[in-house]
Protein backbone atom coordinates (compact mmCIF):
# COMPACT_ATOMS: atom_id res chain seq x y z
CA UNK A 1 0.00 0.00 0.00
CA UNK A 2 1.08 3.55 -0.67
CA UNK A 3 1.14 4.43 3.03
CA UNK A 4 3.63 7.28 2.68
CA UNK A 5 1.38 8.92 0.13
CA UNK A 6 -1.67 8.43 2.37
CA UNK A 7 0.05 10.32 5.18
CA UNK A 8 0.91 13.47 3.21
CA UNK A 9 -1.77 15.73 4.65
CA UNK A 10 -1.89 18.73 2.31
CA UNK A 11 -1.35 16.56 -0.74
CA UNK A 12 -4.30 14.41 0.34
CA UNK A 13 -6.52 17.50 0.66
CA UNK A 14 -5.59 18.38 -2.90
CA UNK A 15 -6.29 14.82 -4.03
CA UNK A 16 -9.70 14.97 -2.35
CA UNK A 17 -10.43 18.17 -4.25
CA UNK A 18 -9.28 16.71 -7.58
CA UNK A 19 -11.25 13.50 -7.03
CA UNK A 20 -14.30 15.63 -6.25
CA UNK A 21 -13.85 17.72 -9.41
CA UNK A 22 -13.74 14.55 -11.51
CA UNK A 23 -16.74 13.14 -9.60
CA UNK A 24 -18.81 16.31 -10.06
CA UNK A 25 -17.86 16.50 -13.72
CA UNK A 26 -19.01 12.91 -14.28
CA UNK A 27 -22.27 13.40 -12.35
CA UNK A 28 -23.10 16.49 -14.41
CA UNK A 29 -22.21 14.79 -17.70
CA UNK A 30 -24.38 11.85 -16.62
CA UNK A 31 -27.28 14.31 -16.13
CA UNK A 32 -27.90 13.03 -12.61
CA UNK A 33 -27.50 16.52 -11.22
CA UNK A 34 -30.91 17.20 -12.78
CA UNK A 35 -34.05 16.94 -10.65
CA UNK A 36 -36.05 15.72 -13.65
CA UNK A 37 -33.68 12.81 -14.29
CA UNK A 38 -33.62 11.65 -10.65
CA UNK A 39 -37.38 11.90 -10.17
CA UNK A 40 -37.77 10.27 -13.62
CA UNK A 41 -35.75 7.34 -12.30
CA UNK A 42 -37.85 7.06 -9.13
CA UNK A 43 -40.97 7.04 -11.34
CA UNK A 44 -39.30 4.52 -13.73
CA UNK A 45 -39.58 6.91 -16.68
CA UNK A 46 -35.83 6.56 -17.26
CA UNK A 47 -33.13 4.24 -15.95
CA UNK A 48 -30.13 6.58 -15.95
CA UNK A 49 -29.39 6.53 -12.20
CA UNK A 50 -29.64 2.73 -12.05
CA UNK A 51 -27.38 2.29 -15.10
CA UNK A 52 -24.72 4.63 -13.70
CA UNK A 53 -24.80 3.09 -10.23
CA UNK A 54 -24.72 -0.52 -11.43
CA UNK A 55 -21.84 0.15 -13.83
CA UNK A 56 -19.91 2.00 -11.10
CA UNK A 57 -20.48 -0.85 -8.62
CA UNK A 58 -19.41 -3.44 -11.21
CA UNK A 59 -16.14 -1.67 -11.99
CA UNK A 60 -15.34 -0.67 -8.40
CA UNK A 61 -16.25 -4.08 -6.93
CA UNK A 62 -13.89 -5.99 -9.21
CA UNK A 63 -11.19 -3.32 -9.07
CA UNK A 64 -11.17 -2.84 -5.30
CA UNK A 65 -11.09 -6.56 -4.57
CA UNK A 66 -8.32 -7.13 -7.13
CA UNK A 67 -6.28 -4.33 -5.52
CA UNK A 68 -6.93 -5.91 -2.13
CA UNK A 69 -5.66 -9.27 -3.43
CA UNK A 70 -2.43 -7.58 -4.55
CA UNK A 71 -2.05 -5.79 -1.22
CA UNK A 72 -2.78 -2.36 -2.72
CA UNK A 73 -5.96 -1.53 -0.79
CA UNK A 74 -7.57 -2.12 2.60
CA UNK A 75 -11.34 -2.43 2.61
CA UNK A 76 -13.38 -0.55 5.14
CA UNK A 77 -16.97 -1.87 5.09
CA UNK A 78 -19.37 0.23 7.17
CA UNK A 79 -21.08 -1.24 10.22
CA UNK A 80 -24.84 -1.56 10.27
CA UNK A 81 -27.86 -2.94 12.09
CA UNK A 82 -31.47 -3.58 11.20
CA UNK A 83 -32.47 -0.40 13.06
CA UNK A 84 -29.71 1.64 11.45
CA UNK A 85 -29.74 0.48 7.85
CA UNK A 86 -33.46 -0.14 7.30
CA UNK A 87 -35.01 2.76 9.22
CA UNK A 88 -32.21 5.18 8.28
CA UNK A 89 -32.41 4.00 4.68
CA UNK A 90 -36.16 4.57 4.49
CA UNK A 91 -35.92 8.05 6.08
CA UNK A 92 -33.21 8.91 3.55
CA UNK A 93 -35.40 7.53 0.77
CA UNK A 94 -38.36 9.78 1.67
CA UNK A 95 -36.01 12.77 1.69
CA UNK A 96 -34.53 11.64 -1.63
CA UNK A 97 -38.03 11.58 -3.20
CA UNK A 98 -39.05 14.97 -1.76
CA UNK A 99 -35.83 16.75 -2.64
CA UNK A 100 -35.04 14.97 -5.91
CA UNK A 101 -31.30 15.02 -5.24
CA UNK A 102 -28.96 13.08 -2.93
CA UNK A 103 -26.13 14.59 -0.84
CA UNK A 104 -23.63 14.30 -3.73
CA UNK A 105 -25.85 15.32 -6.61
CA UNK A 106 -27.35 18.24 -4.64
CA UNK A 107 -23.87 19.82 -4.62
CA UNK A 108 -23.46 19.10 -8.33
CA UNK A 109 -26.88 20.62 -9.00
CA UNK A 110 -25.88 23.74 -7.06
CA UNK A 111 -22.73 23.93 -9.22
CA UNK A 112 -24.79 23.95 -12.41
CA UNK A 113 -27.00 26.76 -11.13
CA UNK A 114 -29.99 24.99 -9.54
CA UNK A 115 -30.99 27.28 -6.68
CA UNK A 116 -33.54 24.86 -5.22
CA UNK A 117 -30.56 22.56 -4.54
CA UNK A 118 -28.36 25.28 -3.05
CA UNK A 119 -30.92 27.24 -1.02
CA UNK A 120 -33.28 24.36 -0.21
CA UNK A 121 -31.49 21.04 -0.34
CA UNK A 122 -28.09 21.99 1.06
CA UNK A 123 -29.57 24.02 3.93
CA UNK A 124 -32.02 21.21 4.70
CA UNK A 125 -29.25 18.59 4.82
CA UNK A 126 -27.17 20.78 7.16
CA UNK A 127 -30.18 21.10 9.50
CA UNK A 128 -30.88 17.35 9.24
CA UNK A 129 -27.32 16.29 10.08
CA UNK A 130 -27.31 18.77 12.98
CA UNK A 131 -30.58 17.33 14.32
CA UNK A 132 -29.18 13.83 14.11
CA UNK A 133 -26.06 14.83 16.06
CA UNK A 134 -28.29 16.39 18.73
CA UNK A 135 -30.30 13.18 19.13
CA UNK A 136 -27.46 10.73 18.52
CA UNK A 137 -26.90 9.64 22.11
CA UNK A 138 -30.55 8.72 22.71
CA UNK A 139 -30.89 7.02 19.33
CA UNK A 140 -27.65 5.10 19.81
CA UNK A 141 -28.79 3.71 23.14
CA UNK A 142 -32.02 2.45 21.60
CA UNK A 143 -32.87 1.94 17.98
CA UNK A 144 -29.46 2.13 16.28
CA UNK A 145 -28.27 -1.00 18.10
CA UNK A 146 -31.32 -3.14 17.24
CA UNK A 147 -30.32 -6.19 15.19
CA UNK A 148 -26.66 -5.20 15.05
CA UNK A 149 -24.60 -7.10 12.46
CA UNK A 150 -21.42 -5.01 12.55
CA UNK A 151 -19.23 -4.85 9.48
CA UNK A 152 -20.47 -8.13 8.05
CA UNK A 153 -20.10 -8.50 4.28
CA UNK A 154 -22.08 -10.60 1.81
CA UNK A 155 -19.33 -13.29 1.69
CA UNK A 156 -19.62 -13.54 5.52
CA UNK A 157 -23.40 -13.92 5.27
CA UNK A 158 -23.30 -16.63 2.61
CA UNK A 159 -20.11 -18.16 4.10
CA UNK A 160 -18.36 -18.39 0.72
CA UNK A 161 -15.17 -17.01 -0.79
CA UNK A 162 -15.55 -13.32 -1.74
CA UNK A 163 -14.82 -14.06 -5.42
CA UNK A 164 -17.85 -16.38 -5.54
CA UNK A 165 -20.02 -13.44 -4.49
CA UNK A 166 -18.21 -11.04 -6.83
CA UNK A 167 -18.78 -13.30 -9.85
CA UNK A 168 -22.45 -13.76 -9.01
CA UNK A 169 -23.07 -10.04 -8.40
CA UNK A 170 -21.14 -9.16 -11.57
CA UNK A 171 -23.18 -11.58 -13.69
CA UNK A 172 -26.39 -10.29 -12.13
CA UNK A 173 -25.47 -6.66 -12.90
CA UNK A 174 -24.41 -7.45 -16.48
CA UNK A 175 -27.61 -9.46 -17.00
CA UNK A 176 -29.74 -6.60 -15.63
CA UNK A 177 -28.01 -4.00 -17.82
CA UNK A 178 -28.38 -6.15 -20.95
CA UNK A 179 -32.02 -6.73 -20.02
CA UNK A 180 -32.61 -2.96 -19.72
CA UNK A 181 -31.05 -2.38 -23.15
CA UNK A 182 -33.09 -5.16 -24.76
CA UNK A 183 -36.27 -3.74 -23.22
CA UNK A 184 -35.27 -0.36 -24.69
CA UNK A 185 -35.24 1.37 -21.29
Amino acid sequence: MLTTLHQKKSLQLLMGLLTGIAFGFLLQKGNVTNYDVIIGQLLFRNMIVVKIMLTAVLVAMIGIHAMKAFGLATLNPKPGSVGKSIIGGLLFGVGFGLLGYCPGTVIGAAGQGSLDALLGGVIGILIGTGLFAAQYQQLNESILQKGDFGTKTLPDVFKVNEWVVIIHVALLIIGLLIGLEIAGL
Binding site: L13, L43, G89, G93, T105, L115
Partner: protein, 173 residues
Protein backbone atom coordinates in the same frame (compact mmCIF):
# COMPACT_ATOMS: atom_id res chain seq x y z
CA UNK B 1 -11.91 17.94 -27.12
CA UNK B 2 -15.46 17.95 -28.39
CA UNK B 3 -16.56 15.30 -25.93
CA UNK B 4 -15.92 17.67 -23.02
CA UNK B 5 -18.56 19.97 -24.49
CA UNK B 6 -21.20 17.27 -24.91
CA UNK B 7 -24.32 17.80 -22.81
CA UNK B 8 -24.70 14.14 -21.99
CA UNK B 9 -22.40 11.14 -21.77
CA UNK B 10 -23.51 7.52 -21.91
CA UNK B 11 -24.47 6.33 -18.41
CA UNK B 12 -22.07 3.41 -18.87
CA UNK B 13 -19.13 5.75 -19.49
CA UNK B 14 -20.10 7.86 -16.48
CA UNK B 15 -20.60 4.76 -14.31
CA UNK B 16 -17.28 3.22 -15.34
CA UNK B 17 -15.57 6.56 -14.64
CA UNK B 18 -17.08 6.76 -11.14
CA UNK B 19 -16.06 3.13 -10.54
CA UNK B 20 -12.47 3.94 -11.50
CA UNK B 21 -12.50 7.05 -9.28
CA UNK B 22 -13.47 4.78 -6.39
CA UNK B 23 -10.49 2.53 -7.14
CA UNK B 24 -8.14 5.52 -7.33
CA UNK B 25 -9.47 6.84 -4.02
CA UNK B 26 -8.70 3.51 -2.34
CA UNK B 27 -5.29 3.25 -3.96
CA UNK B 28 -4.00 6.80 -3.63
CA UNK B 29 -5.82 8.06 -0.55
CA UNK B 30 -7.10 5.01 1.35
CA UNK B 31 -10.56 6.63 1.23
CA UNK B 32 -13.95 5.78 -0.20
CA UNK B 33 -16.18 8.23 -2.05
CA UNK B 34 -18.82 9.55 0.33
CA UNK B 35 -20.58 12.87 0.70
CA UNK B 36 -22.72 12.98 3.81
CA UNK B 37 -19.98 13.20 6.48
CA UNK B 38 -18.90 16.56 5.04
CA UNK B 39 -22.41 17.89 5.75
CA UNK B 40 -22.14 16.78 9.40
CA UNK B 41 -18.75 18.46 9.69
CA UNK B 42 -20.01 21.68 8.13
CA UNK B 43 -23.13 21.63 10.27
CA UNK B 44 -20.96 21.32 13.39
CA UNK B 45 -18.64 24.14 12.25
CA UNK B 46 -21.64 26.43 11.67
CA UNK B 47 -23.18 25.53 15.03
CA UNK B 48 -19.80 26.17 16.68
CA UNK B 49 -19.79 29.65 15.17
CA UNK B 50 -23.23 30.38 16.63
CA UNK B 51 -22.64 28.86 20.06
CA UNK B 52 -18.96 29.64 20.56
CA UNK B 53 -17.73 26.07 20.08
CA UNK B 54 -20.38 24.20 22.04
CA UNK B 55 -21.36 21.83 19.27
CA UNK B 56 -18.00 20.03 19.29
CA UNK B 57 -18.80 18.70 22.78
CA UNK B 58 -21.62 16.52 21.48
CA UNK B 59 -20.91 12.77 21.56
CA UNK B 60 -21.49 12.47 17.84
CA UNK B 61 -18.83 15.00 16.97
CA UNK B 62 -16.31 13.25 19.23
CA UNK B 63 -16.71 10.30 16.89
CA UNK B 64 -17.00 12.31 13.67
CA UNK B 65 -14.69 15.27 14.03
CA UNK B 66 -15.47 18.56 12.30
CA UNK B 67 -12.29 18.77 10.24
CA UNK B 68 -11.54 19.93 6.76
CA UNK B 69 -10.37 16.59 5.45
CA UNK B 70 -10.25 14.55 2.24
CA UNK B 71 -14.02 14.00 2.10
CA UNK B 72 -14.79 17.64 2.84
CA UNK B 73 -12.58 18.69 -0.06
CA UNK B 74 -14.26 16.04 -2.21
CA UNK B 75 -17.61 17.80 -1.77
CA UNK B 76 -16.13 21.20 -2.66
CA UNK B 77 -14.66 19.49 -5.73
CA UNK B 78 -18.06 18.17 -6.82
CA UNK B 79 -19.39 21.72 -6.92
CA UNK B 80 -16.45 22.89 -9.05
CA UNK B 81 -16.51 19.84 -11.33
CA UNK B 82 -20.23 20.14 -12.04
CA UNK B 83 -19.80 23.87 -12.67
CA UNK B 84 -16.98 23.25 -15.20
CA UNK B 85 -18.96 20.51 -16.95
CA UNK B 86 -22.09 22.67 -17.18
CA UNK B 87 -20.12 25.68 -18.41
CA UNK B 88 -18.36 23.63 -21.11
CA UNK B 89 -21.59 22.15 -22.42
CA UNK B 90 -23.53 25.40 -22.12
CA UNK B 91 -26.09 23.87 -19.75
CA UNK B 92 -25.22 26.17 -16.83
CA UNK B 93 -28.28 28.19 -15.90
CA UNK B 94 -29.42 29.91 -12.73
CA UNK B 95 -32.93 28.67 -12.05
CA UNK B 96 -35.07 27.82 -9.06
CA UNK B 97 -37.77 25.50 -10.39
CA UNK B 98 -37.01 22.23 -12.17
CA UNK B 99 -39.05 21.71 -15.38
CA UNK B 100 -40.85 18.59 -14.18
CA UNK B 101 -41.77 20.31 -10.91
CA UNK B 102 -43.20 23.32 -12.79
CA UNK B 103 -45.36 21.12 -15.02
CA UNK B 104 -46.88 19.33 -12.04
CA UNK B 105 -46.95 21.83 -9.18
CA UNK B 106 -46.92 25.22 -10.91
CA UNK B 107 -44.47 28.03 -10.33
CA UNK B 108 -44.87 28.87 -6.65
CA UNK B 109 -41.28 29.10 -5.47
CA UNK B 110 -42.26 28.79 -1.80
CA UNK B 111 -43.78 25.33 -2.37
CA UNK B 112 -40.63 24.01 -4.03
CA UNK B 113 -38.41 25.68 -1.45
CA UNK B 114 -40.28 24.23 1.54
CA UNK B 115 -40.41 20.76 -0.02
CA UNK B 116 -36.68 20.92 -0.74
CA UNK B 117 -35.91 22.02 2.83
CA UNK B 118 -38.04 19.24 4.36
CA UNK B 119 -36.61 16.72 1.89
CA UNK B 120 -33.09 17.89 2.73
CA UNK B 121 -33.68 17.57 6.47
CA UNK B 122 -34.89 13.97 6.08
CA UNK B 123 -32.02 13.22 3.69
CA UNK B 124 -29.35 14.53 6.07
CA UNK B 125 -30.99 12.94 9.11
CA UNK B 126 -31.45 9.60 7.30
CA UNK B 127 -27.95 9.59 5.82
CA UNK B 128 -26.36 9.98 9.25
CA UNK B 129 -28.82 7.47 10.75
CA UNK B 130 -27.89 4.86 8.11
CA UNK B 131 -24.22 5.92 8.19
CA UNK B 132 -23.91 6.87 4.53
CA UNK B 133 -25.61 8.11 1.39
CA UNK B 134 -26.03 7.13 -2.26
CA UNK B 135 -22.25 7.43 -2.79
CA UNK B 136 -20.89 6.07 0.50
CA UNK B 137 -23.34 3.19 0.80
CA UNK B 138 -24.79 3.11 -2.71
CA UNK B 139 -21.55 2.78 -4.67
CA UNK B 140 -18.43 2.50 -2.44
CA UNK B 141 -20.13 0.36 0.21
CA UNK B 142 -21.94 -2.01 -2.14
CA UNK B 143 -18.70 -2.43 -4.14
CA UNK B 144 -17.04 -3.58 -0.90
CA UNK B 145 -19.95 -6.04 -0.51
CA UNK B 146 -20.92 -4.58 2.89
CA UNK B 147 -24.23 -5.95 4.15
CA UNK B 148 -25.10 -2.56 5.72
CA UNK B 149 -24.67 -0.86 2.33
CA UNK B 150 -26.77 -3.32 0.33
CA UNK B 151 -29.58 -3.11 2.89
CA UNK B 152 -29.40 0.70 3.03
CA UNK B 153 -29.39 1.26 -0.72
CA UNK B 154 -32.43 -0.99 -1.21
CA UNK B 155 -34.23 1.08 1.45
CA UNK B 156 -33.09 4.38 -0.16
CA UNK B 157 -34.83 3.35 -3.36
CA UNK B 158 -37.94 1.87 -1.69
CA UNK B 159 -38.43 5.14 0.20
CA UNK B 160 -37.62 7.27 -2.84
CA UNK B 161 -39.81 5.40 -5.31
CA UNK B 162 -42.83 5.38 -2.95
CA UNK B 163 -42.45 9.10 -2.14
CA UNK B 164 -42.03 10.14 -5.79
CA UNK B 165 -44.98 8.00 -6.88
CA UNK B 166 -47.22 9.50 -4.18
CA UNK B 167 -46.13 13.04 -5.11
CA UNK B 168 -46.63 12.54 -8.81
CA UNK B 169 -50.02 10.83 -8.42
CA UNK B 170 -48.96 7.58 -10.03
CA UNK B 171 -51.41 5.66 -7.86
CA UNK B 172 -54.61 7.58 -8.47
CA UNK B 173 -54.23 9.21 -11.86
Amino acid sequence: MNWLRMTEWSPYVVGAGIGMLNMLAFLLSNKSLGCSTAFSQTSCMLENMLTGGCASRKTYYQKLQPLIDWQWMLVIGIFIGAFISAKLSGTFSIHFLPQLWKENFGDTMLLRWSTAIIGGILLGYGARWAGGCTSGHGISGTAQLALSSWLSVVCFFIGGVCTAMLMYNVFWS
